[in-house]
């Protein structure tokens, strides 16, 4: 049996408000399933479970603000005997669909005394069904029915108010997000001795290859320069391990897996940097699809808990227009961030001649507790080398 706890939601968030349960007791879950939704300063985040098993009990209540590590549910491992009989949702009465959900129905005296649940709590079948549907634990309710039994109206009272639509409170939401960004960035600048290295990369080979590759592809298969940059960065991070990992109480722990955070600017001034897991192992096409999907879900406010906390290195690009370079601030507990200015024609020297060529300027901000400029230089040079053979990305 395992206690399923509130996972980390990223460096800048310490708590989330539980707004939805997507499972109920008795449901089978497996690693990676989304089981709940919490509202955070960075939007709604889907919480994934990391055990396989059967949901025995939902511990956390809807509407509760829960810190990281708070118990959410009890999960039984597969094959494990239940401690108590598993509480299954009561069968729906056949006539139920035709019956209007009139609150008056509850006022009628029950034909039989409310049955006690396995936990010894008396509740009417309608109340039990509704509580299960809403993910409300019966233990948390005060019964107003006969003999203190929980009736439907007790459940309805407990039901959290519907969350306001994003448009209504977008200003407040962005203000909250700004606070979260401010806290994380201030902490980063206070604790991490940043150093910076900058390098301009000739993108002639990469952009020629990209134009040719995209020419006869349908839009859903088109690849953007951002995907080439991310792939080159992920592969280079395999070689320079001191940029990829987390810095904790015991110092730096390099990560074998390369989970690349992608900074996505939100309309009106928000910023999220969810992770693309195992970016170095993805084909360009898969990486591109992951980037498109992540962008869409970031806008919709539907990111997953693993994406919010697992990044081992971050990439941030200004997009296709804008200034030529930007220096970033490391997202703790990571130790490096690569930022890209807008790619475009730049004056480069090739074979002793000044030429105009497609180029991008990358800046690495890295943690001096872990590495120094020489390593940073090698890392950016490795990214450059990989972009010269785009067909191998």
């Amino acid at each position: 049996m395992a206690v399923f706890k509130m996972p980390s939601l990223g460096a800048d968030m310490e708590a989330g408000k539980l707004v939805e349960w997507l499972v109920k007791p008795g449901d089978t879950v497996k690693h990676g399933d989304v089981v709940a939704v919490v509202e955070t300063q960075k939007g709604a985040i889907e919480i994934e479970v990391f055990e396989d098993g059967v949901v025995e009990k939902l511990v956390a209540e809807l509407g509760q603000s829960l810190p990281v590590g708070a118990p959410l549910a009890i999960i039984q491992a597969p094959g494990e005997a239940a401690e108590a009989p598993t509480q299954t949702a009561p069968p729906v009465a056949p006539q139920a669909p035709a019956e209007p959900a009139a609150p008056a129905a509850e006022a009628a005296p029950p034909t039989a005394p409310p049955a006690a649940t396995p936990s010894g709590i008396a509740a009417s079948p309608a109340a039990k069904a509704r509580a299960a549907e809403l993910g409300i634990a019966l233990e948390s309710l005060t019964g107003s029915g006969p003999g203190g039994a929980i009736v439907l109206s007790d459940v309805e009272t407990k039901k959290p108010a519907a969350t306001p639509s994003p448009a209504q409170d977008r200003g407040a939401y962005l203000a909250e997000m700004r606070k979260a960004i401010a806290a994380a960035m201030a902490r980063s600048k206070r604790e991490i001795p940043h150093y910076y290295v900058t390098h301009t990369i000739d993108l002639s080979a990469a952009s020629d290859w990209l134009s040719a590759a995209n020419a006869d592809r349908p839009p859903e298969e088109r690849i953007l320069m951002g995907a080439l940059l991310m792939k080159a960065m992920a592969l280079a991070a395999r070689e320079e391990k001191a940029v990829n990992g987390h810095f904790g109480e015991d110092g730096f722990t390099p990560s074998a897996a390369i989970h690349l955070g992608l900074a996505i600017a939100l309309r009106g001034g928000g910023l999220v940097a969810p992770a693309i897991l195992d970016a170095d192992k993805k084909s360009l096409q898969d990486l591109m699809e992951a980037m498109r999907d992540l962008t869409m879900r970031a806008r919709a406010g539907r990111l997953k808990s693993s994406e919010m906390s697992m990044a081992t290195l971050t990439f941030s690009a200004l997009g296709e227009s804008g200034v030529e370079a930007m220096a970033g601030i490391i997202v703790p507990p990571q130790v490096a961030i690569v930022t890209a200015g807008a790619p475009g024609l730049q004056a480069l020297v090739r074979d002793g001649e000044v030429i105009a060529a497609q180029a991008v300027t990358l800046t690495l901000a890295a943690d001096h507790r872990v590495s120094d400029g020489r390593l940073g230089s090698k890392f950016l040079t490795a990214i450059d080398a990989k972009l010269q053979t785009p067909e191998e990305l």
Partner: protein, 80 residues
Amino acid sequence: MTEDEIRSAYIEELVRVAPDLDPAEIAGSDHLQDDLELDSMDILNLVIALNQRFGVAIAEADYPQIATPDLAAAFLAKRV
């Protein structure tokens, strides 16, 4: 399809790609990147959606032609 119908359909797809946009606040002359703050990933997502909805091929070179709802309506009206 009239240009107005195409414009509404375009805005519908746009809001699906960027659900944080309020369709009531999108003007016909709003530029996807400069006014609506979309990035190149969003533009590609929109091109995919428009291609599926209208069956019109939109090459990368044509992206400036769909950069605002008005421009896109005129561009697509000639091709649907």
